[in-house]
Symmetry: C2
Subunit: 345 residues, 2 copies
Amino acid sequence: MAVTIRDVAQAAGVHVSTVSRTFSAPHMVNADTRERVLAAATQLGYRPNQAARALTTGRTHNLGLIVADIANPFFPPLIKAAQAYARERGYHVFVADTDEDPQEEQELIQTLAKQVDGVVLVSPRLTNHSIERLGMELPFVVVNRRVKGLSAVLMDVGSGAVQAVRHLTSLGHRRLALLGGPRGSWTSEQMRKAATAEAAAAGAELTVIGPNSPTERGGTDAAPEVLGCRATGVIAYNDLVAIGLIEGLAARGVEVPAGMSVVGVDDTVAGRLNRPKLTTVAMPTAAAGRTAVDLLLQAVDARGNGAAAQTTLETSLVVRESTAAVRPGENPPAGAPEIAGAPAG
Amino acid sequence: MAVTIRDVAQAAGVHVSTVSRTFSAPHMVNADTRERVLAAATQLGYRPNQAARALTTGRTHNLGLIVADIANPFFPPLIKAAQAYARERGYHVFVADTDEDPQEEQELIQTLAKQVDGVVLVSPRLTNHSIERLGMELPFVVVNRRVKGLSAVLMDVGSGAVQAVRHLTSLGHRRLALLGGPRGSWTSEQMRKAATAEAAAAGAELTVIGPNSPTERGGTDAAPEVLGCRATGVIAYNDLVAIGLIEGLAARGVEVPAGMSVVGVDDTVAGRLNRPKLTTVAMPTAAAGRTAVDLLLQAVDARGNGAAAQTTLETSLVVRESTAAVRPGENPPAGAPEIAGAPAG
DNA sequence: ACTTTTATGGCAACCGCTTGCACGCTACGG
DNA sequence: CCGTAGCGTGCAAGCGGTTGCCATAAAAGT
């Protein structure tokens, strides 16, 4: 039904292989012949069938992009950038959503495997071991995770966490809390390490709370625990969690930033729109998307040789309205227990 | 390199056709044989190659989903739902972003054509004519647009606009403005028609402003014009535009809702998070995504026969904080007596 | 007991395209 | 004038599956 290479061959009066070559190796065919073939092709509206081509070449010119939750505002800019860049390089991309489910993630990778040249895994929830194993069969690049043998693009969330801690301590906060992300999140772990170290260096206490769902819900649910540890400054796993936390605190009569300073991570629209506008660690998501595709394409071309490349993108703290200086007297000498009963809203 | 149907055949001691059949027509093969084949298959880790299969069957089991801008918060929930539902039905989906460019949209469709069984077009920017022509070669379903011969899922934005107008007039507003969307937007046109009619019926003036870019920028830029037409209530093309407008108004010393009532459309996170929380027309985006895939698969199965189906999804006004009763004296006697506005909730 | 069904699985020809190989032709040095 | 490079093209064998057709054998009918 569709116009194939044979139709073109017939129309141009040449053999199919010649048509094939004028598309995949133009220099191998005589200029005149090429003209003739091209003319016939456009005249018939011929478009090579990628799938068929893939069968013999082993190159599908398709990529997979697997994220935990498309609706999480962190991902769309990354997806958009990755998709646009891939397209520029002649690739189409399958976007899939795992709903934070490692099982689904694995299944997705396996069914996608034959149809793509490689896949980008963003903040995968799979174990390192599983990823390494899958990595033997297909080029991967992981975003926000480090996996042996695989290219990775990392956002320096550790430095972001450090900046956040410094910001809070410089505002006089001495009791900090860190709201971690979901179990198995590399990002969360990096934040924990960096924040813990920096807090210790600054002589501040830091309570780690989690794991939490990386959603508003996760933040809201963590509110009591945050209040319980009597922190005055909180770093949340991401903007959504921060926003949820702020709501949860408000419901308990604690205003942000007056009664509590909150810093988010990601710098999504959500945070920019929230009131108070969120102080947050900005992530270079678009750059990450582009870089990931770039590394993936490199890995695809190298296939076998080619060492895994690592790119680390910088993050930076954006100070807005959800953080403020600690209230005088809020930081009692560590040891004097104090119960600031929060009235239920 | 990968394990093929022949490896399985050899391992199970049967012919390849038998292996093929145990996967695509299990009932045609004896239970014992099937067992043996299945065992060999799982043992070898065999996975059928969709691309190869597509070559003979003509079914790729892939879908295309084309949107104008992935990063626009209206789309992710739709994409997510569509993707999840497609996956449930055994399909993978290519997601592509046209950056609001009709040219790119067309190109995308054509390169995708051979690799998918059908395409969902969300708020396409192409002309009806182009879409119809493309529709001859490939099943399509369009979202938020009506194209002859193609299945469509519509969100009843007209009714949404009517609800918005009623809400505003019931608050006492008599001079309304409507911020349209980009040129060629079906949604925008539906809103215009419905809002104009309803405003006339309610004896209110309505100024249409546009086209506007469907972004915050579009709203901000339109602020002077809104002020210029001395409207007291505005309906924006979408939440983003509404938010941009609110900012633009604030920059000119007009507060919302005190000095101006603004209602958005879409009910995205952005609107929920904004302060004031946006009064907005909620769009059933997730349902739209699912329905679109459903209709598309129907069209794919029918291929040729099967009439185009139309599904209209309801919208509903969500009243939040960006609208309030008009200020006394704000509505000069435009000829008609004025009704006392309902007090803001 | 012998023919007719019916179930099962093998055979081989594709699907649209790529690619190693070989053939025919021109051009060129000796 | 012939041997021999090349170049440009045709030939045909796949890539991994599917599927119409046919052979075989067992089940059923008479």
